[in-house]
Amino acid sequence: MKDIFNKYEKKDENILGLLEDIQTEFNYLSEENIRKVAEAFGVPLSRIFGISTFYKSFSLTPKGKHIIWVCSGTACHVRGAPKISDRLTQLLGIEPGGTTPDNQFTLETVNCLGACALGPLVVIDGKYHGKMSVDKIEKLLQDYK
């Protein structure tokens, strides 16, 4: 945490970058860390909280061990992405945005990952799985369980 803090000069334009690094490192923004950022930059806590809830990259609760992104960009959408996310909801018992009670999986839909030739696209822990189908997704999920 100290290293991340020291990376940035304490100027307002660095708040976002710092929060992004915290999010990447800890998988979420804890109340403690949000307080620390507000204190370090000398800005009201409400402002950091506002930023943390406005931008989609930030999460106030811990995410699961495996993060599943279903690309919901237009190209993937017309190629059947909604069917894939419906199937994942069914298999995992969580809606997009949710985390399984055992903290194994977080399911998210993302706007576009820019690999439209591979659509419908599912990314698990940063690994791209292209040309996905409702049938293939179940097998794929087994590899991560």
Binding site: D12, G73, T74, C116, Y128
Partner: protein, 633 residues
Amino acid sequence: MNNTKKLASISEFENLANRCISAKSKDIAVISVCCGTGCTASGALDVLARLREEIEKRKLDTTTDTLFTGCHGFCERGPLVVIRNLKGNKNIFYQQVKPEDVAEIISETVLTGKIIGRLLYIDPTTKNKIISEEELPFYKNQKRLLFGSNGKIDPTSIEYYIAIGGYSALGKVLTSMTPQRVIEEIKKSGLRGRGGAGFPTGRKWESCRKAVGDSPNSGTLHTTGYVICNADEGDPGAFMDRSLLEGNPHSVLEGMIIGAYTIGVKLGYIYVRNEYPLAVKHFSIALQQAREHGLLGENILGTDLSFDIKINRGAGAFVCGESSALRASIEGRVGEPSVKYIHATEKGLYNMPTVLNNVKTWASVPLIINNGADWFSSIGTEKSKGTMIFSLVGKINNTGLVEVPMGITLREMIYNIGGGIPGGKKFKAVQTGGPSGGCIPEKLLDLPVDYEALTQAGSMMGSGGMIVMDEDTCMVEVARYFLAFTQDESCGKCTPCREGTKHMLKILTNITKGKGREGDIELLEEIGNMVKDTALCALGNSAPNPALTTIKYFRDEYESHINQKKCPAKVCKSLIKYSVITDKCNGCHLCFVKCPEKAITGTAKKPHIIIREKCVKCGICFDVCKQDAIKIE
């Protein structure tokens, strides 16, 4: 070549350029591997690693080189490998290359000059195998000014960029052009903002230059003004800005330095989506190299010009692509747009004069300086000059990035370059301009692609997303999809956008669920036009476009959803039913095994039945059936 001595004058730069050119024009074969996001996702890095191993193993490093490059554009066929400068051949284009193919590429093609037939692209109409990149229909019909170098340079090495004439435009500007002269040249070229709005770039620069005043380039970093590169490419289905930053970051950087010289500012920002880690990485490397070479920082190339650039990463808010929201975000605030009584060129970032341009706009600048305004304005239509990069995606055979002269028709793009619709399906619509754009029907396919023509059709140029839809796409559902997107991304500051999009989405969702009522279409139009006229920023002003254009061109689809409770494209779950065609079903039992809900019964070799009460309409049976015995009605 690892000379990182700071260049203290233009002549030192010219010497370096000559050394780079001769170093890169050695007479050896170069195997370039596309390592853009699409190809990387299909295994390009493994292919590159195997190539390097094989070359080392066979001790071919004096005659053969490998090249890590950015996106070549033809994502559909990735991983792409292009072999250039091989004796006796122009270049050889291999597609869908796997690591297993590498040994053969070296032993057959590189060592004996034989071409491997199975790795070539086959023209779907003529069935001919095509050897060189230039002859592919996909590339042949393009005009790749901004994008053409991507396949030929290593984006992480400044020498490659300098070897293809990079930074010579900056040299020209610093030695022989006054800022006023640069502004005249850009104005004359007719370059317009490539972020979508199409504002004339030269005029924007001119008014900012005036606001900066008589003492440009004086004082400290924060006392003159700013240039910003908008790389917050948020439109779903659009990835050309990213590919340019990943594949040729120095071209964007050079454009920004020329901009800083012309406008007279000392600091620039680039605002990049956080979802684009490779673009951030390559641009950071480019900045570092430019600083080491004296092309960025104090006294650039020994002149009075001082300029530097900071990278700010976005955090997943679509509205931050809007200029005033983007500025708020750089300033470390919530990314809400503000009212523009005063132009940003006068009071923008931190209330200082600011020029904000899109990635493609900046990258066009060095081209115009090097080749002249007349050359640039000879390409395109009367009011839209130069080329535009589109990402051609969706239900199209050749998914990828295409760069075309302005004024080309949609039909040429979709059929000649894109190769038409897969699976013999019928074209229905093309959506341009992302969530802010509209859907253009078949009868308007001969429309020329320029700012005015697209706006007139109810859509817009946008930043260049082009999503093709076929007969299996439900236009009401597409409108619902886009409204769900804009509603979710609406920042909530102004009422028309916050409330209007919410109600439009509610009505559209009801229609797709079979709960549409008479009068819904008119209500959508009324709310849509109201939001268009009264919302605070461009996000809200354009959010109703997908709904309004689909009503305009596909009203019959809305009517059959509302009146007959039928979805003509058979997409909307609540309005369709799956059933077995008894005559076709051979009782293979596959659907029975695969159905997650156990909603299919039947004994082997006898026609099966779907139990409607149990069916959740997931579509697995339809996908797995080899007899086409499942129908949707």
